[in-house]
């Protein structure tokens, strides 16, 4: 409810994503072959940067207003709290980007056959980015907002490579399932691993 009332949290990444994607046809001209070959990289870089825009907000307000203390003091497992916060963050930033990516795909002349692979790669990739973003946000809690994005960006390279490979493979009529499986495995390992690391990183802020 709070996340939805703070409209800037979900509107800003969405607008940012669409603006970045729209700039490419404006800068490069409406050449279908050029834009469709660039589409995987453009969509993924825009999605990656947009999803990082709101990571700072995952825990910052709860830390400032003392709600985070309540979470840790309750006898509920902290892992559940972090997982819930990441899920909400994905719902308000990742999901709108996922929906907007269809518009981006049309703008960049991505063939219809590549829509499903693109959506699947973004579904897995943005979820993983939210997990990674939560860890960055926990480590940079109470510090500069940009710091969490700087912490996260180097670790997002494998997701970027896999995500673009899925769309590029589908554009070249190649099998992309292997890349999706790797992204799925990263997410499956990331849910317990990154949530636990985030809990530890959050607790460091009290020491």
């Amino acid at each position: 409810m709070i996340a939805f009332r703070r409209s800037s949290t979900y509107i800003t990444p969405l607008i940012f994503f669409l603006i970045v994607v729209t700039f490419f046809p404006l800068a490069l001209g409406p050449q279908e072959s050029l834009l469709s070959s660039l589409a995987p990289g453009v969509i993924w870089i825009a999605a990656l940067l947009a999803s990082l825009l709101a990571v700072e907000t995952i825990f910052s307000e709860d830390f400032r207003d003392g709600t985070l203390d309540d979470f840790f003091i309750s006898l509920e497992p902290s892992f559940i709290l972090v997982f819930a916060k990441v899920t909400i963050h994905w719902l308000i930033t990742g999901l709108p980007i996922l929906v907007a990516s269809s518009i981006a795909a049309i703008i960049l002349y991505l063939p219809l056959d590549s829509f499903i692979p693109m959506l699947l790669s973004l579904l897995l990739g943005t979820s993983f980015m939210s997990l990674l973003g939560a860890l960055g946000a926990a480590l940079a809690l109470g510090k500069s907002a940009i710091l969490s994005a700087i912490i996260v960006l180097p670790f997002s390279v494998p997701t970027l490579l896999m995500g673009t490979s899925v769309i590029t493979s589908s554009l070249n009529n190649q099998d992309f399932s292997g890349f999706l499986m790797i992204m799925g495995a990263m997410l499956a390992l990331g849910i317990p691993g990154l949530c636990l690391l985030t809990v530890e990183a959050l607790l460091l802020n009290y020491e």
């Binding site: 207003d65 203390d69 309750s74 009290y206």
Partner: protein
Amino acid sequence: MLPNLKVENLSCVRSDKAIFDDVSFDVLPGHNIEIIGSNGSGKTTLLRTLLGLITQDKGEIVWLDDAGKYHNYRTFECLYQGHQLGIKNLLTVFENLNITKHAKGMSQEDIYKHLERVGLSNVNEFASNISVGQRKRIAMAKWLLKEFKIYFIDEPFSALDDTATLLIEKLIKELNAKGCSFVITGHRPSGIEATRVEI
């Protein structure tokens, strides 16, 4: 009567400087502990250490379970009210109370009753628009949602007028009568009946 919490020779050191040293007390059911200290003396750190948010360097913190055994981990849920109060600006006064875990299953009327008890009638006002004193009253209403064995309250009497101070004292007395204990902090002794610990 066994203490619900026993603190023995507790010390916390950060950057070679003792935040607090050799603190000992027992929290008996229905009794209060008041930690007195000046600004920066480590009162908040002590509360957070007791609750496990900060690791102690020396000493022991043990909690009583329902079977009458002591453990070095917390065996029951407590209420902690820090300086920040845990109030969400984007929620109304009513919503701030209604979203808490302990209000689950409670009727709207019960929540209104608790808010009325602490003197809050502007229930549909956003928390961002109310004063610090009124925010403290929301936090006080949270005390009434559930009877906790121990309430850890950081400087409950700061930024409050006389009416609110009297209300806190009354609430503490009422909850004490039900067997609840308070561990509170302050710069000087308050009007509540408590064992004073200076740090």
